[in-house]
């Protein structure tokens, strides 16, 4: 009823004032929606949908830089299955994602709980804590690379002075340590994101619930486990899913710190795809490596979609 009233009024008005045909067209919700969505659809179509199709197409050819390839079917993927470096990269990516996610969540939650209290300088602290996340990753990673430098490492100096080590540690040059070092930097960069997002989640929880539990005799640990954590879970899940996608597809951090070395000890999907596709110029093989990430990402996206739909219908 109300809606039809509105239409009549504006129609009457439209009759009294001269309108361009285009203005009348835009009064139709469907046409307006079409016009409003057009720029987005063009850009996303050209630079997301088209590259995706093109990527699938490339991955079933033997194209190299400057050489349009021939159709070779699943050849590139078969090659990958037998490629020992690819297997190492898959394993590294899984370890890298799993370990960093656990630590980022645990430390981020801890930091969020600390920041959720009232103390002097809280706003300032929160602003400074986000710095690792907002400063361009490549640039801050260079600071870490310098801190890990085998000869001039400040970390080695500190450990040496504390009497914990007696000789230098080659953080990025030792195949066993390199992945750990890369993981540490990723955690360092990710904790602020977790902390600030979870803090936002914590702030939506009514403090009276805590008080009520406290009156009922719940200890701080129990209050966290039975009151705060279940209420924080929805935000946590979304944050984790986002972060898993980003970490799984990470590139810049490893590119700067080790370039995938030593001896592929820190090779990830993305760095290997770059090395093969851009470094060696085997476009089709590189595209196949990138696309091999897709099934995993798809699963995360589906979980995310199902979950968001559930939240919306609640």
């Amino acid at each position: 009823m109300a809606v039809s009233d509105v239409t009549t009024t504006s129609d009457t008005y439209a009759g009294s004032v001269r309108r361009w045909p285009i203005t009348r067209l835009l009064e139709d919700e469907r046409w307006l929606a079409f016009v409003l969505l057009l720029p987005t659809m063009v850009l996303l179509g050209l630079f997301i949908a088209y590259p995706f199709v093109k990527g699938v197409e490339l991955s079933v050819t033997d194209a190299k830089v400057g050489v349009p390839g021939n159709f070779v079917g699943m050849q590139n993927f078969v090659v990958l299955l037998n490629d020992s470096i690819f297997r190492v990269a898959v394993w590294n990516t899984v370890v890298y994602t799993a370990v960093t996610t656990v630590f980022k969540l645990a430390l981020g939650l801890w930091l969020a709980l600390l920041l959720n209290r009232n103390f002097k300088g809280k706003a300032l602290t929160r602003a400074f804590i986000l710095l690792p996340f907002i400063i361009p990753t490549v640039l801050s990673t260079f600071a870490w690379k310098w801190m890990f430098d085998p000869t001039f490492s400040v970390i080695n100096w500190t450990l040496f002075r504390l009497g914990l080590i007696s000789s230098r540690i080659n953080w990025l040059g030792d195949p066993n340590l390199a992945l750990i070092s890369v993981i540490v930097v990723n955690i360092w960069r990710g904790v602020p994101f977790y902390a600030i997002s979870l803090l936002a989640g914590l702030q939506t929880i009514n403090p009276e619930l805590q008080d009520a539990a406290a009156i009922d005799g719940a200890k701080p640990w129990q209050r966290f486990w039975y009151v705060t954590w279940p209420l924080l879970l929805p935000v946590t899940l979304v944050v984790v899913l986002f972060s898993v996608i980003q970490t799984f597809a990470d590139f810049q951090l490893v590119y700067v710190l080790t370039g995938g070395g030593p001896a592929n000890a820190t090779q990830l999907f993305a760095t290997y795809a770059y090395q093969v596709g851009v470094g060696t110029g085997l476009l089709s093989q590189g595209a196949a490596i990138s696309l091999a990430m897709f099934p995993v990402l798809l699963v995360v996206v589906i979980v995310q979609l199902l979950y968001i739909r559930r939240v919306e219908t609640l």
Binding site: L36, T40, L43, L46, I48, L114, A127, P136, L139, S197
Partner: protein
């Protein structure tokens, strides 16, 4: 307030928080110290007796002068600024219109399009960079700022749209209906009534998009090749390292100066940035 005995406060609050702050900020301090430290001190091994890591007695601006005069650093800064601002504006424009359409208008496939945009939001750059490099070359955009100005919106638009949809949904429909009763067209109501109310959302989306653009690396690395076209991240990575030799002083100076624009924008709009960040997650 923090309850309990004094030692408990220290053990469970001040010490852990202090440790977090120290660890999270130390690399930036290290950048700063390295950037102003003369080479003679810089390349003194850590086990040398006079190794003084945490300060310098002879601060110098040599690395910064070298960076600004002998390298293309200022060109990279301008490139990055231009690309980030342009990509942000394009994304805000598209995101505003798309966000409005998806949250306010009824049309077929609205739900499907919303989901599609959300999915593109989750597509990482590393999934598509190889075919995209090919496409950029075919469009003759390779090695120009346009290669990035047009491709950055692919990860910025979905984010802006998603964030702004949240803002639009919170604005009561009656406001728009009032305007239309007074004779405004849908278009006018959108521009004059809804968009002004969504300004905080636009600001959040814009700031977040700007920092994301400034941070982007792999597209810039793959699509640009001339030293004069590079962005800060790529320029610092590729031009300040000669073979195996790292110019750590100027590298750190570059990292520091290259971070300033983002830190500057961030410092003025922390609240909006946080709103963007948390809005991005919650949707």
């Amino acid at each position: 307030m923090i309850e309990g005995a004094k030692w408990r406060r220290w053990a469970f609050f001040y010490i852990p928080l202090g440790a977090f702050i120290f660890t999270l900020l130390f690399p930036f301090y290290w950048m700063l110290v390295t950037a102003v430290r003369p080479d003679s001190e810089l390349y003194r091994p850590w086990n040398a007796p006079n190794y003084a890591p945490f300060w310098t007695a002879h601060p110098t601006l040599d690395h910064i002068t070298y960076l600004l005069q002998e390298t293309l650093f200022s060109t990279w800064m301008l490139n990055t600024l231009l690309i980030s601002v342009a990509a942000t504006l394009i994304s805000l424009f598209c995101g505003l219109l798309a966000g409005y359409a998806l949250s306010r208008l009824k049309f077929r496939f609205a739900g499907m399009l919303g989901t599609a945009i959300f999915i593109t939001y989750l597509v990482p750059q590393t999934l598509l960079f190889i075919p995209l490099a090919d496409i950029v070359r075919n469009f003759r955009l390779g090695d120009t700022p346009w290669a990035l100005i047009l491709t950055y919106p692919t990860f910025l638009i979905p984010f802006c749209t998603w964030l702004l949809m949240g803002y639009f949904k919170a604005i009561p429909r009656e406001l728009e209906e009032c305007a239309r009763i007074d004779g405004a067209t849908r278009w006018q109501a959108m521009i004059h009534i809804i968009f002004p109310i969504a300004v905080p959302g636009i600001l959040s989306a814009g700031i977040f998009a700007f920092t994301l653009s400034w941070n982007e690396f792999i597209y810039a690395l793959v699509f640009l090749s001339s030293p004069t076209e590079k962005t800060v991240s790529v320029g610092v990575t590729s031009e300040l390292i000669r073979g195996d030799v790292f110019y750590w002083g100027s590298l750190m100076a570059g990292a520091l100066l290259g971070s300033i624009p983002v830190a500057f924008v961030y410092s003025f709009f922390v609240e909006y940035y946080v709103a963007g960040l948390t809005g991005a997650v919650k949707g």
